[in-house]
């Protein structure tokens, strides 16, 4: 018998798989949440008027580097666990776990922000007292929680239609607004009009508009071909760029910044200015539609991450409990409760712009780490991949520097005053990072030890030994909670 192993058979195509249009909608839908309307206002704070379009364009060009980095990493590890995998291979398992937990908080922040923002928008339209904001937060998250617990899933085509409707609807209303007579665009290319650092901060907040588009890599296992994800990673930023740019220009054209600054629903203000009540209802409809993607997609991604982490022993095993609809109910419920608490705190403090700053800084930090992963894995992984970033190592090295600068730019921004600095965003991130790292260093080893003890004390190995093995173990498994190895 030759020592050459046969090549594994080629897998047949899946009955249902995701094509480019759906993957692109997933990518854009994950990125373009209700908080993005506020994100544009944050860009305008540092780059007023038409300059915002310059910042959004530069942000988009930088995001294309992110597209290239994630395309190559996804090609190496085309799995829903990809982010964990390449982080683990590049920076070690404990660091990857700590970073991934912190990364997940971005999703929680977006869910919480959307619950608050959508509630605020609905309340405004119905002329309800402010205190009802808490009620709307509870109603929205309660509805999302119930739907998830019942295993309600929106078909892929529904999410695709929703995403393209939101993007198209925003574009159309923005174009209509631009034809209105409004304020002239002043200083269209004055990127540093608010101070020497303002241009960099504007670009950093512009990056936030595209944030989370890379989460489409978690659908790599459903993609028709690996190139589908790569195409989505490059096309989705273009769609977001067009939508955000037109929205920013329309806002600058019709709505004075003094009205935008304190508002949690700038999109309604634009709708009202462009088309009166019809425009307001139009934008309210689009805002509510974003909830479908955020609550459906965000809950799904995060709860499944929590489930997987519990199954492998990195979170308490109770988070893997499944209800009779195969939903990790404790994970989903905890997610909803945490999001509700964050949303209520944001509502009580009025610090929704702080959420934008924290989210923007987190994403910049994650992109810097992804660039670092590419630099490290280029050395360690020599196998073929469907996509290779041209000049990947130097570009990724530049990316580490650029995204670190952008991380600091947003981390030290004052959400209330573009001319000041504030340590509030970076302080929030530092607290999240410390908590996450502390949990990984202190509690994860205890959870794993407890899991190993349960396994050792539990049932003997079920697989019968091979007849010719003399009763010896068929295969030695490493001693970790992921396998059962017990004495006979």
């Amino acid at each position: 018998m030759s020592g050459v192993q046969p090549a594994p058979p080629v897998a047949r195509a899946l009955r249902r798989s995701v094509g480019t249009a759906t993957a692109t909608a997933t990518s854009a839908g994950l990125a373009f949440a209700a908080i993005d309307y506020l994100g544009v206002v944050s860009v305008l704070a540092y780059a007023p008027g038409a300059t915002a379009a310059v910042a959004i364009l530069i942000g988009g060009l930088i995001v294309l580097l992110v597209s290239g980095i994630f395309s190559e990493l996804n090609g190496l590890y085309p799995t829903a666990a990809g982010i964990r995998l390449y982080l683990g291979r590049a920076v070690g398992l404990r660091t990857s776990l700590s970073v991934t937990f912190t990364y997940m908080t971005t999703v929680v922040l977006v869910i919480a922000a959307d619950a608050f923002l959508i509630g605020a928008a609905v309340r405004h339209m119905l002329h309800e007292p402010a205190v009802l904001g808490y009620v709307w937060i509870a109603v929205l998250l309660g509805t999302a929680l119930t739907a998830n617990l019942l295993g309600v899933r929106f078909a892929g085509w529904v999410q695709t239609v929703v995403t393209y409707t939101v993007l198209t609807g925003t574009v159309v209303l923005s174009v209509i607004a631009l034809f209105h007579r409004g304020t002239a665009f002043r200083h269209p290319f004055d990127l540093f009009g608010q101070g020497s650092f303002s241009g960099i901060q504007a670009i950093a907040f512009a990056l936030f508009l595209y944030a989370a588009f890379e989460w489409v890599t978690t659908t790599a296992e459903e993609a028709r071909t690996p190139r589908v994800i790569t195409r989505a990673l490059f096309i989705a930023p273009v769609l977001i760029w067009i939508t955000s740019t037109l929205f920013a220009l329309a806002l600058a054209h019709l709505v004075p910044y003094s009205r935008l600054h304190g508002s949690a629903y700038p999109q309604l203000l634009l709708g009202q200015a462009a088309l009166g009540t019809v425009g307001e209802i139009w934008m309210l409809g689009l805002t509510v539609l974003t909830a479908l993607n955020t609550f459906n997609g965000g809950f799904l991604v995060t709860s499944r991450f929590i489930y997987a982490a519990a199954r492998e022993g990195n979170l308490p095993r109770q988070f893997a409990w499944l209800n009779l609809r195969a939903v990790p109910w404790l994970a989903v419920t905890t997610l909803a409760v945490v999001s509700a608490v964050v949303a209520a705190v944001v509502f009580a403090t009025g610090q929704w712009l702080l959420l934008v700053a924290v989210g923007a800084a987190l994403e910049s930090g994650i992109y810097a780490i992804a660039a670092l992963c590419l630099v490290v894995l280029r050395r360690r992984e020599t196998r073929e991949r469907p996509f290779t970033l041209i000049a990947g190592k130097p570009l990724a090295t530049v990316g580490i520097v650029v995204f670190t600068v952008l991380f600091l730019a947003t981390g030290l921004s004052d959400p209330k005053n573009a001319r000041h600095f504030s340590a509030a965003p970076i302080a929030v991130i530092a607290v999240l990072g410390v908590l996450s790292t502390g949990y990984v260093l202190v509690f994860v080893p205890r959870l794993r030890a407890a899991a190993a003890a349960r396994t050792a004390a539990g049932r003997p190995r079920r697989r019968p030994p091979r007849p010719d093995s003399g009763g010896a173990a068929t295969r030695a498994e490493p001693t970790d909670p992921g396998s059962v190895t017990r004495g006979r």
Binding site: Q5, L14, E222, R463
Partner: protein, 119 residues
């Protein structure tokens, strides 16, 4: 490396464990799928037909159009179907590769988790 005989034995036990678990059958009552499996070391392939949570058959070779495709080493398949292995950890390390929706991947793991919660 495990041969088809060992895999078939493991699959037979897995089928009985799955079909006789009342809670699992109730949980998966709305789940009907065709699964394909590929042993990356031996080239052995096999299928699993699931209808409303009941495993109907596990023939050798690929039958029908798959909803999920799982690829790993034959020994890992054997240990997995005997319940002697936590598939999630292997999956998160990239040792088990899956093609299919995240929902279906979770449903597949749910079988192991419900039958052998301490694995």
């Amino acid at each position: 490396m495990a041969d088809w005989g060992e895999l078939a034995e493991a699959l037979a036990d897995y089928t009985v464990s799955c079909n006789e678990n009342v809670r699992l059958r109730k949980m998966q009552r709305d789940w009907s799928r065709t699964l394909h499996f590929i042993c990356s070391d031996t080239g052995v392939t096999f299928s699993m037909e699931v209808d409303h949570g009941e495993i109907l058959s596990t023939p050798e070779g690929h039958v029908g159009t798959p909803d999920i495709v799982v690829t790993t080493e034959s020994e890992i398949f054997c240990d997995m179907f005997w319940g002697d292995l936590n598939p999630v950890q292997k999956y998160l390390r990239g040792e088990i590769k899956v093609k299919g929706s995240q929902e279906d991947v979770m449903r597949l793991d749910a079988i192991s988790y419900v039958i052998w919660p301490d694995s």
